[in-house]
């Protein structure tokens, strides 16, 4: 305790003078006011009963004198302006970084059955203790390290604001971005007196976070870590996806990957729900560190939303529940639009396309139609007719594109070949699956000049005669006219056409297993089953109802989801304005589900371990003299209410 106001000797002198004055006034006050009465004998008879209370009256007067002295002592002490040692030490500016990663939702070591404390609760309590221990010249900032770094309370010396900010901290669903949080903390306290960084974490960090913490400790700014660990047992769903069968698009299969991240074996049950209906239940026993993949096959494609959940007889084996659930959405199946531009003489091609099934919609079109780009695949089989001047920007399959020299076909011409022999073919290419071009007789043909990235599916004596360029769209060139060969007579021809259509079909629309939580990822609207035509903005609505508009560039938009679950993507403009599709977002990150502390292996220096929280200052709202004056006022009120309440006139 230090006196910031008058010195002790001055205060003693003041108290002595004041006490003397009070005593003198009390002695004077004891001279009673005289009242002349006409009948003193009767007064004496009346007041005789109160004689017994004379001693108490004297004692009460003595007590009142003592109360006045205490009042004087309080006032004198207030003038001295006493300060606790916490108030007179050098000011401190501390950045409290609270790890709000998903692992902080885990049970704390201090938890009991009655009070199941989470690690984040312990960290928040420690942060509050730190704030309560701030002196009047100290300041603090509270930074939350989640997938996104945020400031719970800006740099302030107002404990109420800081405590309110700490109260709002809750664990996120992903890994903490500790690097950015520590960088922000360093910038916040830099150039401030007594700069400190206090990291409250459970140590379950990813590599980047651990490295950031190491860098912080090695930095000039004092950086200390306070650990709040707990049991590390956790079984998590680390992957969950659903897809259509490539060959049977009306059927689905679901994959779930479950990993035991704890130190003991665990028995859990995996439930898979499709649109709320259970479609599979698998009991799983996992050794420590073991990963198990479970696949549910031949599920009805009518179900589009899948959910996987883990349960166990011992809930402690599951650890925190943020990674015990995962979601998957299968995009709706839209029919593949195929356009055939032909002179009508190749009936074999017509027959091959007509046999493809219901999910392919075939249209005959003219080569100059402007909306050819809307088709998923366009066949050009014009025979003796030239190609149109411009080809549509979509997947193309062109037969004999270089019959005429001024062809717009993007793959350059090699040379003309009379009676080419098909000598080599890429057997493993999906387009040539079950297809054999050997011994096909061809009247004439044209080879191609390949560019890097082009695939030569079939060669004629080393020269590519069937090639495919795969960029944004597929461009397939067949360097001969089927009419001038016996290929249409072979079984390979419809298989080749079918392989091509299925290849395009698998490519557009593709399927998205799920979006990872916390990462910014580019998603194609077409991949989600939404036609991107004219769409410039979409609205992403999370499972918590939070909506956010995102721009769309070339049919793709970036999405960074912070809440696991099924998000809704709604087109705000374009041809498909108002249309909605869904995409699943899963935590599915073993690093985030890892509850073991990495700091034990880092061998942090002793000075990096945080000390106990400072003792709370007696008062944080103002100096101590205000409390003394309040006490004096309370004492005056008490004395008035008990002794001086009588109205003396």
């Amino acid at each position: 305790m230090t006196l910031a106001g008058w010195s002790l000797s001055q205060l003693g002198l003041l108290f002595g003078v004041g006490a003397g004055a009070i005593t003198l006034l009390y002695l004077l006050r004891m001279r009673r006011r005289k009242v002349v009465v006409p009948f003193a004998a009767l007064w004496e008879r009346v007041t005789r009963d109160s004689e017994s209370r004379k001693i108490w009256r004297r004692l009460r007067r003595l007590l009142s004198w003592l109360v006045q002295l205490i009042l004087l002592a309080l006032v004198v002490a207030a003038i001295g302006d006493p300060r606790t040692n916490a108030w007179v030490r050098d000011p401190v500016t501390v950045a409290i970084v609270v790890d709000a990663s998903a692992s902080m939702a885990g049970v704390s070591d201090a938890a009991t059955e009655e009070t199941p404390l989470r690690r984040i609760d312990r960290a928040k309590q420690r942060a509050m203790d730190q704030v309560r221990g701030l002196g009047p010249s100290d300041r603090a900032v509270v930074i939350v390290a989640a997938e996104e770094v945020s400031v719970a309370s800006p740099l302030s010396n107002d404990p109420s604001a800081l405590l309110a900010g700490i109260e709002t901290i809750e664990p996120s669903h992903g890994e903490a971005d500790l690097g950015r949080a520590l960088t922000l903390a360093g910038h916040a306290v830099r150039d401030n007196p007594g700069a400190q960084i206090l990291v409250l974490t459970d140590g379950a960090l990813d590599v980047a976070g651990a490295q950031a913490l190491r860098d912080c400790i090695d930095s000039p700014v004092q950086c200390q870590v306070d650990m709040h660990t707990g049991p590390a047992g956790n079984v998590a769903i680390t992957a969950f996806a659903a897809r259509r069968y490539p060959e049977a698009r009306d059927k689905l299969e679901v994959l779930a990957e479950v990993q035991n991240l704890g130190d003991v074996a665990a028995s859990v049950t995996l439930d898979v729900l499709a649109d709320g209906v259970s479609v599979g239940r698998r009991p799983i026993t996992l050794a420590p560190g073991q990963t198990r993949r479970e696949v549910l096959t031949d599920l009805d494609a009518a179900r589009s939303r899948f959910e996987a959940r883990l349960s166990a007889e011992d809930p402690a084996a599951l650890g925190p529940d943020f990674d015990d659930v995962a979601f998957a959405v299968v995009p709706p199946l839209s029919p593949l639009r195929v356009a055939l531009i032909s002179d009508g003489t190749n009936l074999f091609l017509d027959a091959a396309l007509l046999n493809l099934g219901d999910h392919v919609r075939l249209d005959a079109a003219e080569g100059t139609e402007p909306d050819l780009a809307d088709y998923d695949l366009v066949f050009f089989d014009l025979g003796n007719n030239p190609l149109p001047e411009t080809l549509p920007a979509t997947n193309l399959a062109v037969f004999d594109p270089w019959r005429f020299e001024d062809s717009p076909f993007p793959i350059a011409k090699g040379r003309d070949v009379a009676r080419p022999f098909l000598t080599e073919q890429a057997r493993k290419h999906p387009l040539l699956q079950h297809v054999v071009f050997k011994d096909v007789n061809i009247g004439r043909g044209t080879t191609f000049a390949l560019e890097p990235g082009d695939d030569a599916l079939v060669r004629s004596l080393g020269d590519p005669i069937v090639v495919m360029r795969e960029a944004e769209h597929i461009t397939l060139g067949v360097g001969f006219d089927p009419r001038q060969s016996d290929l249409p007579m072979r079984i390979a021809f419809p298989l080749f056409v079918d392989n091509l259509v299925r290849y395009v079909e698998r490519r557009t629309p593709g399927f998205v297993a799920s979006a990872p939580l916390g990462l910014s990822q580019a998603l194609g609207l077409a991949d989600l089953g939404l036609s991107p035509d004219g769409i410039t903005r979409v609205e992403v609505t999370g499972p918590d109802g939070h909506a956010q508009a995102r721009p769309v560039e070339r049919g793709r938009f970036r999405m960074r989801a912070l809440t696991p679950g099924v998000h809704t993507i709604a087109a705000l403009d374009g041809l498909a304005a108002g249309a909605q599709v869904e995409v699943a977002v899963n935590q599915a990150n073993p690093d985030a589900s890892e509850l073991h502390s990495m700091l034990d292996a880092m061998e942090l220096p002793d000075e990096a371990s945080a000390d106990a929280a400072p003792e709370p200052a007696p008062l944080t709202e103002g100096p101590l003299w205000t409390a003394l004056m309040l006490a004096a006022a309370a004492l005056i009120a008490f004395e008035w209410a008990t002794y001086h309440r009588r109205v003396t006139v």
Binding site: A40, A41, L42, W43, V46
Partner: protein
């Protein structure tokens, strides 16, 4: 009560100024009082009251044996003829009523500006005027422990100004001593009569004894207790706190803490004291009346006459 008086207590007040004690208004009220009193006692011959004293009256009272020197005109010849004895007829003597008005001039009567003393003087003067107007002999005495002055009995309405002068000039002050005062009044009176004592009777021991002594000396005492309501019931005075009570008639001091409860207790004790005095008086056949100084003096005098407690 002024602020100074509330702060420092009521000091002993000097005797009320005499100039305005019996002013023109007072005299006018006396005249009115006399007319009313005459109407009340119409038909009665004042100053012709029969007394037990055998004298020259016309109403036969008794016989006694003749003694030499007796007026033979009073010899009862009828008895002599019948019985042969010489008896003298005695008659009740008619004489006027001696009225003695005793005014307490002690310090307790002089408090609060002497309101009680002023009131007692006005009542005494009024009674004297009515008595003089009815041909009674009226004497006055002002008494306290230190003062005892007497105006000998006078007769005649025109002597009322001597009464005024006497009351004006009488010395005031001293302790209340009803017993001693009444003893001296009884001792000085050659002829017992109606004795009206105007006092606050703030004498715990001697108040009733003094009155009783008058009765013992064949007087017909009447006690008129002058009461100041503010003194009798101090609950509305605003007095609170630790005070030192000084007796206005002595050196007695008493430290008390005045609270509403203490003030109420005093008012109740005062009422009990008055009631006890009244009870004692009535038990002994002594007239008693409580006179509140808030009541006009002439109303009080008329009430006295109406009740018939003073004049028989």
């Amino acid at each position: 009560m002024g602020i100074r008086e509330r702060l420092f207590g009521a000091a002993k007040a000097p005797a009320p100024a005499s100039d305005d004690l019996f002013d023109e208004a007072f005299l006018a009220r006396l005249e009115l009082l006399q007319v009313i009193a005459r109407r009340l006692f119409r038909g009665r011959q004042r100053a012709e009251r029969k007394t037990r004293k055998v004298g020259s009256g016309i109403e036969f009272a008794d016989h006694r044996p003749y003694s030499p020197g007796d007026d033979i005109r009073n010899l009862d010849w009828t008895v002599y003829v019948r019985l042969g004895r010489t008896l003298i007829r005695l008659f009740e003597e008619d004489e006027d009523l001696p009225i003695r008005i005793v005014v307490d001039v002690s310090d307790s009567m002089c408090l609060r500006g002497g309101a009680k003393l002023r009131y007692a003087q006005q009542v005494g003067a009024a009674l004297a005027y009515v008595g003089l107007a009815n041909l009674d002999r009226v004497g006055l005495t002002c008494m306290s422990q230190d003062t005892h002055v007497t105006l000998p009995a006078i007769r005649g309405k025109g002597r009322i100004f001597r009464v005024f002068d006497f009351l004006r000039s009488a010395q005031t002050g001293g302790a209340t001593d009803i017993r001693a005062g009444c003893s001296r009044v009884a001792a000085q009176s050659n002829q017992p009569g109606l004795t009206i004592v105007l006092s606050d009777f703030y004498d715990l021991e001697g108040a009733f004894e003094g009155l009783n002594m008058l009765r013992f000396r064949k007087h017909e005492p009447v006690a008129i207790q002058i009461i100041d309501p503010a003194e009798a019931d101090p609950t509305g005075s605003g007095l609170r706190g630790d005070v030192r009570l000084l007796d206005c008639e002595g050196e007695t001091e008493r430290d008390v803490t005045l609270s509403p409860r203490a003030l109420t207790a005093y008012a109740e004790a005062h009422e009990r004291f008055c009631a006890q005095l009244q009870s004692s008086c009535r038990t002994r056949g002594i007239g008693y009346m409580r006179a509140n100084i808030d009541v006009p003096f002439d109303d009080l005098v008329l009430r006295l006459f109406r009740q018939g407690g003073i004049v028989r």
